[in-house]
């Protein structure tokens, strides 16, 4: 029982960051009809941005985290304006190829800049775990879970309560009508992509401080983000949140009780099984956003 609880807690920590990845991807997918295969690269970017801010610029851990989010948003916006905006009228396959190109280019760019050696992000938290009844959690992991929860809450507020969020929901429902009502679709797309990239960068900086930072870390992150999106359904933000938490917990249970060698297979199997049996996602009523 204690072991199960421990796995659940570890799974939630992972799951919170998976949810961040998934929310960004599901928004981009649902709103822009872009399959962002470079999503994991923004995750990697966030991790390296935090690493650089700490190691090179000498910022403290919390500022480095903010720096990572800003870097993700900035590069996301740049990517959207320069590559996706000109292709807005093209088919989904065309933009998919472009994003695959961005993925390869970004990953190998990182490899060139940082080398292949894994790095760790130093953090100010004590390493002795907090013991809460039957489970023990490292303070850093608790912090990661809290930040992820805060960012998820902020995403909900943004989508549900702000003018930008309302414009985003309108664009998702019917881009043409939204444009007629005065929504600047291009800006909404840029904002959405930057927002999704920023969330991915945050997830990268957070998980990068728990684990290690290396150039190909984004590949698995991308695939996990896709499995979260598929679990939750296209453009479904609550679905992505639940899907992320679920994936984290199932992975942790799979690694704990089945085989740790197949930990990363969980996401793949989820993608295949859910797509085949319930292509609209586990929590889907219909396609939706917010």
């Amino acid at each position: 029982m204690a072991e199960l609880l421990q796995h659940l807690v570890n799974g939630l920590v992972l799951g919170g960051t998976y949810a961040l990845l998934g929310i960004g991807l599901t928004l981009i997918f649902g709103l822009m009809n872009v399959v962002n295969f470079a999503h994991g690269e923004f995750y990697t970017l966030g991790a390296y941005a935090a690493f650089a801010a700490l190691g090179l610029a000498g910022l403290n851990f919390f500022l480095a985290l903010l720096g990572a989010i800003a870097a993700g948003a900035l590069l996301g916006a740049l990517c959207e304006v320069s590559l996706l905006r000109p292709l807005r009228r093209e088919s989904i396959d065309t933009t998919m190829l472009v994003m695959i190109g961005v993925w390869i280019a970004m990953q190998n760019g990182e490899l060139l800049v940082w080398g292949g050696v894994a790095q760790s992000i130093p953090h100010p938290f004590p390493t002795a775990p907090l013991v809460l009844g039957p489970v023990s959690v490292a303070p850093l992991r608790l912090f990661v879970l809290l930040v992820a929860a805060a960012l998820i809450a902020a995403s909900y507020l943004l989508i549900q309560r702000t003018k930008l969020g309302r414009a985003m929901r309108a664009t998702f429902q019917d881009a043409e009508t939204a444009a007629l009502m005065g929504v600047r679709i291009e800006r909404i797309h840029t904002a959405t992509f930057a927002f999704g990239a920023a969330l991915a960068a945050a997830a990268g900086a957070l998980l990068g401080s728990i684990f290690l930072v290396y150039p190909s870390m984004g590949d698995l992150a991308s695939l996990k983000a896709f499995s979260v999106v598929i679990l939750g359904g296209l453009g479904n933000v609550p679905g992505a949140t639940l899907g992320g938490l679920l994936l984290g917990v199932v992975e942790e249970l799979g690694a704990g009780y089945v085989s740790s060698g197949y930990r990363d297979a969980v996401g793949f199997v989820i993608i295949i099984v859910v797509l085949v049996l319930r292509p609209a996602g586990l929590f889907a009523r219909s396609e939706r956003i917010g």
């Binding site: 190109g101 280019a105 060698g261 993608i271 085949v276």
Partner: protein, 309 residues
Amino acid sequence: MTRAGRHVAALLALTLPFWLASPYFLHVVIMAGIFAVLALSLNLLLGYTGQLSLGHAAFFGIGAYTSALLTLRLEWSFWAALPGAAAAAGLAGWFIGRLALKLRGAYFVLVTISFAGVISLVSINWMDLTNGPLGLPGVPAPELGPWSLRTKGAYYYLVLAAVGLSYLACRRLVRSRIGRAFVALRENESLAESVGVDVTHYLVLAAVVSAALAGMAGSLYAHYTRFVSPEVFLFTYTVTMVIMVVAGGKGTLAGPLVGAVLFTVLPEALRAATSWQWQMLAYGVLLVLLVFFLPRGIVPALSALRRRS
């Protein structure tokens, strides 16, 4: 290409080991041939049915492992193991095709990526069968009667024959009823269905043939390098195939061949000047540039040029 040009090209290809003596250049040409089979195979799905498989390295790897295991453990000859590898990969293609029946576009891509991910993890973790990350050394070179095809010159002809047969098979296929059904399915699925094209059947068929060809390429690779490890499932292989097909011209017969030769020779030529990371970076940038400036690929652009002049 004109008739005379074709004859010259065929003559050059047939006599290549006699005037290209350097083993290094022969190696590059053999790898180009193996990739040509892979690109032809991916093109059947991506170019003709319009479905992008980002798990094609899985079929390649399944072919390589099947062939290696059949010759090493069961001591089959290469000539039996090669069709065995194609059959095993074709079976995997059938499985993916059946699974992904109703999935198109991005969803199809994701299923194929995930399938490749699972297979790659199996190859690393199933120690008893695959020897895990250490791989399978000592895969035997093919033998033809009393001769061993151990030398690069001899292996070149084997690969050349495989490329030729794959090309002819693809040409036969896409110029038949089946090929027209593939294109109909790519251009407008509901319309194709409404005139009686059995979409499911043709998509599964395309997946099986494509996977079997990739499996054959895997077998050729295994018996050439004589070593198979989980690296055959590297995503880099899939990316290379996609670039070859997209750059050469998807949905054309010559496109994958042009792409395969170009993107095996070019990186080798650049190797002296740049590192591997730069090359991969260039691949990524190139893919983006291609979509912007040469969306249909080299071969269609060239034939358009020729028509204009």
